[in-house]
Amino acid sequence: MKNIVITGATSGIGLAIVKALVEKEENVIAIGMNQVDCDTAYNSLQRPKSLRYIPIDLSSNQQIDNQSKLILEHFEEKIDVLIHCAATVRQYFMTNKEGYELQFQVNYLAIFHLTRNLLEAIKNSKGMVIATSSRVHRRTKLYFDDLMNRKRYFILNVYRKTKLCIAIFIHQFNRLFMDKDLIGYAVDPGLVNTTIGAQNTTGFFNKFWQFRSSFGQTPKVVATYYLKLIYEKRITTAPYYYKYGKQLKPSAYSRRADIGKLLWKASEEYVK
């Protein structure tokens, strides 16, 4: 029985993965944004004993710190798999209480922060980190003097950069921790039929996402790609980016060691 922590677990891909893991009777801590969403999801799964929902608003680094302790206590400092599915799309530039832009915070910095907080527990189990990236990370780069896109805020541009950060993060994670028998994977789920693009957007973007996502795969099918990584033999050769269950090279920019180092350092500064 594995100890698995998963974010974004109250809807979309995250909820589908939780469902599949509950069927396999794994020990799961599922993270949702607030108590109401967590309760709704928990009830919809018929409240299994092996599953526990913990609300963490990933836009708040304070909450991530506080609730990480709960997770570590519950799993007694041993985590086999940490899956990051939480993400947000925001039409306008907004910040959290620390002044961090919300897409950057929820889609990327929360991943860095939570992984860092749970790292020892993952090391104890020689565990795995899986994060959800996207093909939109291609053909874009980061501006390290303006990581939160204050000067160039455009809804899709920002989302692409956060997904790029995830691809960079996974590669740097492997550079730092593969020799300790840890592994990180970035999953590109393709186009998925979820509400991510419709929750905090208006007008054209909102309608466009509702139309486009109707052509996507269902979360249930996408969840199988994640489960494949968890249950099949661990592949420790690059690339660590998977689409539709197969290895795929992410952008050359995301695989650069110098960029990985820069982003890691910048992230450490934001959450120290």
């Binding site: 306008y92 530039f93 000067k151 805020y153 208006t202 500064e269």
Partner: protein
């Protein structure tokens, strides 16, 4: 390091945070003023992680004269000289005048007019070599707004104050900029409200990172009034052709329609 500071009043709201961050990026020391102590601490701690400048905080309710007196005592005791004052603290209420509670109406008038005047007046006594003052007014300050009677009047107060003081204080290296924005998308609930105003509402939205960046440039250029958003400027231009007695009727009718949509979300917003 010098004791020249920028004071941001209302520093823990979305706009306040953005002004503080863009200013500290430019190298200024910042004095963060707001009511909530824990929000002040969270924000200060995050700034100190990345920046080397001085960051001080002070918890103050600007409607309380004694607290404002104490704030400026704190400034003098710490030998702080203000090079800029960014005044954002304000309240907005969207409801009919007679339906609003007495306390809420007075709270709005006290914050937006009296509190603002109090802070500006006292800031002149602790200025450094020069003092640039940025005050958040609103596009509403140009229109007689049914359902925002006291709010729009309070914002008009600021616009005229800025114009007049720029004349009075011309030789004294002090300047005021009134930023007349429409809805600022700092929180999802505000975006919802703007959405409910239809196309006009949506076209009037400008990202706050852009508004802050440009208004700081305008402050340096000694502009008196800045209206963010090309659509808002065009709207303002057209409205000047319409007699105000007719304008109030047009706005009244539009607002009644929008009010029917947002009736359930009526609330007092402390900015």
């Amino acid at each position: 390091m010098s004791n020249n500071f920028v004071m941001v009043v209302g520093a823990t709201g979305g706009l306040g945070r953005e002004y503080s961050i863009q200013l500290i990026e430019k190298g200024y020391n910042i004095l963060l003023v707001a009511r909530d102590k824990s929000n002040l601490k969270t924000f200060k701690d995050s700034l100190l992680k990345k920046y080397k400048q001085k960051v001080l905080t002070y918890s103050c309710d600007i409607t309380d004269n004694q607290e404002v007196i104490n704030l400026f005592k704190f400034i003098e005791e710490n030998n702080i000289k203000l090079s800029k004052l960014i005044h954002i603290a304000g309240i907005e209420i969207e409801d009919w005048f007679k339906d609003t509670s007495h306390d809420d109406i007075l709270g709005l008038a006290n914050t937006n007019v009296i509190g603002t005047t109090n802070i500006i007046h006292r800031a002149l006594e602790v200025k450094g070599e020069s003092l640039d003052i940025l005050v958040m007014s609103s596009l509403a300050g140009f229109f007689p707004m049914p359902m925002k009677a006291v709010y729009s009047a309070s914002k008009r107060y600021i616009i005229e104050l800025a114009r007049t003081l720029n004349y009075e204080l011309k030789g004294e290296s002090t300047h005021i900029l009134a930023v007349c924005a429409n809805g600022m998308p700092t929180r999802p609930d505000i975006v919802e409200k703007l959405k409910s105003q239809g196309v006009f509402g949506r076209l009037s939205i400008v990202n706050i990172s852009k508004v802050v960046r440009i208004s700081l440039k305008k402050l340096n250029k000694r502009t008196t009034i800045y209206v963010p958003g090309r659509f808002n400027r065009i709207l303002l231009g057209f409205s000047k052709l319409i007699p105000r007695s007719i304008l109030v009727k047009i706005l009244g009718r539009r607002w009644k329609k929008a009010w029917q949509k947002i009736e359930a979300n009526k609330k007092v917003r402390k900015i």
